[in-house]
Symmetry: C2
Subunit: 255 residues, 2 copies
């Protein structure tokens, strides 16, 4: 299994603290030695970094650590290969353009038979089941909505039904970004926490690091972190239910 | 005007030497202060780095310099904004997927009226004339070839005719990668040089740096570097003619 990490915030925020915890799982406290990647939205733009090397030893991971990039929407993934060889093109997150927006996709799990589903416009560059599923989802979204729907709820309903469909093929824990929203879908493991004033200290499970967010934030900041397993030991995370979709915008779940 | 840099090689090669010269033009020896970007193909995968900050001061540029990434196909661009504000989504090179391959595009020049050309499938994320031209070109290629043509010459002919068409709108110096070939098209300024055994020393125009490639290479290496203006002072570069397309593969121009 892989590890997912996402962030949604109402102000550009760095993800260094959570990233430190996640990277430890890439070959040190976890078995995920088969590469990692991260995407940062910045306005309409999107910056991605990928490395097929284990994250715990990765030069690119060290760079991102030293040079914090601030973003309102982040999706990251560390991989334990179950399907497809270890190489750059098989490293999540994957991205494609739809409606002049960058879509970003990272998946934890295995989808049996997904490659038998025919694809239309988008085609995978690599050989993973995950990228095939992403291309299939975007094809379906584009077919249903050649232009972006006015109501975000219409898109949320479609994403929910596509996820429910994919779930029948196996395990499908998902983080998906459309440059505005961050969609989190759970079939087995996904948790999230929203941090806002009054901020307090947080202590990582995977590294000896504690941060007092009261010193790092302003009272108006709202930041949600989503992860496969809770990253901190002293906070109360929301554990998602199988089949549950939560859509985040500006740091908060949409209702 | 912007500066372009490309590389085509028969073995994965780092581009540090040429990159050092190019980066100086981003705010030090040149006026190109409006961001820069670079794409490295690695197998079927592609790694891109973008920074809206001037390249001469960029932390990401320093990182790439310290941590040489080896690739057989590289496209880089430093920008002096003529069209579209300075932000991540307006920073070249742009990329899109077609036929399950990453296509990468960087452009130097200005195309008047390009935005009046209707787009089909691909849509720009940012506001530059360049990204609009890229989307238009890929739409035309996809329409002509829903699947990749068997003969690379058929694709080369189409790229030549699309470039000849765009050239009527203004200045169109182009580097385009399809994960196999590197297409270089010139309307005003583009030069290239092929280095192969016996290798000798090369001295940058833009920084005090000399490299003796005889110490850095094996006798079988073939490396072509393409740049807006020659990057070295002591070598003889091929200066491209207006309307000329040269397609490189494995370090050599295709005939």
């Amino acid at each position: 299994m892989c590890e997912l990490l996402g962030m949604s915030a109402n102000v550009p925020t760095d993800i260094c603290f959570s990233f430190t915890g996640l990277m430890q799982r890439g070959g040190r406290t976890g078995p995920h030695r088969d590469g990692w990647g991260i995407a940062f939205y910045e306005g309409r733009g999107c910056r991605t970094f990928h490395d097929p090397a284990p994250s715990a030893d990765s030069e690119i991971a060290k760079f991102i650590h030293r040079y914090p990039i601030k973003s309102c929407n982040v999706i990251s993934h560390i991989r334990q290969a179950t399907h497809g060889k270890v190489c750059l093109e098989n490293t999540h997150p994957f991205s494609r353009e739809l409606w002049g927006r960058h879509w970003v996709f990272a998946h934890n799990g295995k989808l049996r038979g997904i490659k038998q589903r025919p694809l239309g416009f988008y085609r995978p560059v690599g050989t993973t089941d995950s990228e095939h599923a992403f291309c299939w989802m975007l094809d379906r979204i584009r077919t249903a909505f050649p232009d972006p729907p006015r109501r975000p709820q219409a898109l949320m309903q479609l994403v929910q039904s596509l996820c429910d469909d994919l779930r029948t093929l196996g395990t499908f824990n998902l983080l998906l970004g459309d440059a505005r929203h961050l969609y989190a879908y759970c079939t087995t493991k996904l948790s999230w926490i929203t941090r806002r004033a009054p901020f307090g200290p947080a202590r990582l499970c995977d590294a000896e690091l504690e941060v007092d967010f009261a010193h790092e934030t302003t009272p108006r900041d709202i930041v949600t972190v989503i992860a496969t397993r809770p990253l901190t030991a002293n906070e109360s995370w929301n554990i998602m239910r199988p089949g549950e979709l939560v859509v985040f915008r500006d740091g908060l779940p949409m209702r």
